[in-house]
Symmetry: C2
Subunit: 585 residues, 2 copies
Amino acid sequence: MLRTHNCGELRLTHINTSVTICGWVQRTRDIGHLIFADIRDKYGITQITAIEGTSKPEIQEQLRKLGRETVVKIIGKVSERSSKNPNIPTGDIEILVEEIEILNTSKVPPFLIEDETDGGDELRMEYRYLDLRRNPVRKNIELRHQMNRATRQFLDDLGFIDIETPVLIKSTPEGARDFVVPSRMNQGEFYALPQSPQTFKQILMVAGFDRYYQIVKCFRDEDLRADRQPEFTQIDCEMSFITQEDILNTFEGLIRHLFSQVKKYELPEVPRMTYDDAMRFYGSDKPDTRFEMKFVELNELTKGKSFLVFEEAELIVGICATNCASYTRKQIDELTDFIKRPQIGAKGLVYVRCELDGTFKSSVDKFYSSEDLQKIATKMNAKAGDLLLILSGESHKVRKQLSELRLEMGNKLGLRDKNKFAALWVLDFPLLEYSEEDNRFYAMHHPFTAPKPEDEILLQDEKRWGDIRANAYDMVINGTEVGGGSIRIYQRPLQEKMLGILGFSPEEAKAQFGFLMEAFEFGAPPHGGIAFGFDRLCSIFGGADSIRDFIAFPKNNSGRDMMIKSPSPIAQAQLDELSLNITKK
Amino acid sequence: MLRTHNCGELRLTHINTSVTICGWVQRTRDIGHLIFADIRDKYGITQITAIEGTSKPEIQEQLRKLGRETVVKIIGKVSERSSKNPNIPTGDIEILVEEIEILNTSKVPPFLIEDETDGGDELRMEYRYLDLRRNPVRKNIELRHQMNRATRQFLDDLGFIDIETPVLIKSTPEGARDFVVPSRMNQGEFYALPQSPQTFKQILMVAGFDRYYQIVKCFRDEDLRADRQPEFTQIDCEMSFITQEDILNTFEGLIRHLFSQVKKYELPEVPRMTYDDAMRFYGSDKPDTRFEMKFVELNELTKGKSFLVFEEAELIVGICATNCASYTRKQIDELTDFIKRPQIGAKGLVYVRCELDGTFKSSVDKFYSSEDLQKIATKMNAKAGDLLLILSGESHKVRKQLSELRLEMGNKLGLRDKNKFAALWVLDFPLLEYSEEDNRFYAMHHPFTAPKPEDEILLQDEKRWGDIRANAYDMVINGTEVGGGSIRIYQRPLQEKMLGILGFSPEEAKAQFGFLMEAFEFGAPPHGGIAFGFDRLCSIFGGADSIRDFIAFPKNNSGRDMMIKSPSPIAQAQLDELSLNITKK
């Protein structure tokens, strides 16, 4: 090694040791008779010093001239600092420089390499290698490594084995859009990049591998909304001879292990909630359970009072915002504006202030007596000082709207602390979801999910398809779906039936998934699994909203890598070899 | 779990325990009053038994009817076998069946699910899930997992961190052909799949990550020779602030750790050899050093004796095959035929038998006296009973030919035992390799490899380019290159010079590698690394010639996945979205 020590390890015990360190110049300070520089590497920062009268004059001169981010090798003796820095682990010592070797120079970086930088997103993406030098970004990538390592440790110990599935697979029309890869050797034919290793992991169960996992890249050619990446990483798992309960226990174990190992946080037992309850109480299949503020349905107490809006509504439902009775008209107007935004689309907001003096003040005083409001307040468990926020309309829509309002109130009340963690299992998802638009059913999870055995009978009655529950489950942390899975179909007739319901002709079913259905005929064991979104999981552990800074080289919202300038045109010769033409530009 | 125990764990200590196992029916035996079945899962085989008069008659009937590969759940009591099977860990016990549940049926498999199968390659690829049930194949995949785990353990402990680099990158014309991925959002533009994360790992060093690794899929759209896969896996590593010596020591440590952990074999210190010596003594830059049989150059002793073939040859070189003097004329003719095959292309073979009585018998007796042959034998360290095999011709070609002959003799003499391991570092590779065909230099390793500092001066003299040695190294095990790497260029001017030598115009260099050269200007540390071919490494540890059975889902020689039938045509709508047309079919 060019160094004897890294920049994070020298302590008082090293005093008088001759050492060599290598790293980047973070900053220099020249106070006349003393010249300091902070030398940085991944492991820390070490102060180096030249003292007038003690150090060689040329050393002082060299030190003075060191530009930021210059790469240096420093030889010197460890010395106790007269003025210690308790904020860094090496703060007790400095190195009295005897020799400086400049290993590489640096131009002036286009933004500050500091915890708080002045670089904009695009610039940081273009000079990603400089952004990655910044502590917060570097720590995210290190956190990701720790998460990876702790995941493997947990699964390895349970006898899961890591099996690589192929990246060049086959395009399937179901679900999101595939990235495709033209085959040169098979002209006119294409591979596809996997959206998940779903069918392969099931095949591995048929092959008898019993417990599989993989931390694996997946790909989706979707229009990129903020914080979606065309390539992303999953912790992908599958088990045989299990029930749903086994999966829940095993992977609750994984998540608790990760919190314990990586965050030193002992996550309590993960509560479970049915999909129906999640929708009823939170208006969302991924409720943020760091705070309560459950929905209370008010149809009984609000109907029949001549308030036309409520009379016409399918559902009247509210939340109680603790200690918010003092909200001003302006604040309430802001909430109204919030829910009226087109993305949310509510028509209006009814509020009831539970004043500290026991009276009520509401936007519907004309229709509801004090007693009426008292009843509502009682039903909503409101105390004096609370604010009731009530929406109404079509059940499905109003729940979504109130869910947004609930989250907004959570934000306003500081109930969504990034350093607090609430995990939740959401269970019993519907198997099928009807699309009014396409006039057909889609698989809510995917076409391989098994219906609950007790609901399987409903498959025979098209009118009941929407009522069929699946053995499917999501893990939600802090209101984000971090993982989901299901018990799988493992018998050909049921799989054929399911693909039929999803609109596959028998020929299409065979062309796309024939290999899987055939595999089911050669002794497929009962099996099920789960996949966690690894980028997202890391960002939640890191307390960040964006997944981008947990990915070493993310792409921007147009799917471009700003650093390497990709995608890019290719040579005509390459196109010719692939028998392809670009039809327009 | 559907089971209380797996099929590999029951022992005498479990006698009288009520257990439930799940698995596949391996075979049944009906000997009248006793009916046996072997139930198999990943963990082992357990015998289940029904006894006439003891078991319920319907159980016997069920057991009798069980077809191979049926998936069953068996409830019963563990009992000591009267006739034990010492060959399997569960051989002391059997389960007296109380209940059988058929979890899934199986058609008759198209080939035997036994260690030795009757299935051909194509059939085994098509029904890969059945092939993977076979012990030898399953064990390869398990070995791969162990290798993966032990690699991570070693590198994690040394402070390497696993960082995922992107799969959708940019096409570069240098080197092998890229797989490309059309971008829908950036019409007419393409991503490429990485042939290696080379530039990204260097960027990570510039970013200060100090020690990086990744076990990562890479892609090459090459014409597939036997045992090459379009997607393959590398153990990819890079370190900063190091010398070549540090890399060699670190990764020799990795390989020894793998042998120790996975094979329980203590690999001795790995010898080192320069590229020049490897070529001189073995005619190969990846010599199989499980056996000696070094080349001995004989120009001095053979020239000037009127044997025209030798007179005209640039190099006369031989090997000594111990105890092969007894080879018959026919055997020697076979060797001659072997080296005359077009793939090898030698003109002829000269032999000298060192007879047990101290005389010599050779194919060139006419030209060489007994004393001449004695001198040759002495130089070649031959003993009575040995056979000398001598080739001649152009140095470069004759070395390659003799290398093939040496390996063939190694095979014949049983010196290439798959359970014996000999590792070797080959060092000091040439930086550049001249292609007569293209009339230009190519990078022997890749364009980012640094010349040896002492040879850097030769860059100024085009005539000396071929003499420049690189700080590049390969690890060879049993005659196979399992890994290779180099110290990298980390300064822009040298990188520009190198790309210029390789025929890049400044514009091309900037378009392809501008980001890397720019990164070098912002304080790039000295760095270097290595990559191991993980599939190949696994196959060597598994004692197999083919990498295919160490890959769960390999592709065939046409790049096809026979199981999922990929690649395949895609819909016109997909092509339209990508603005692509197929020009011919």
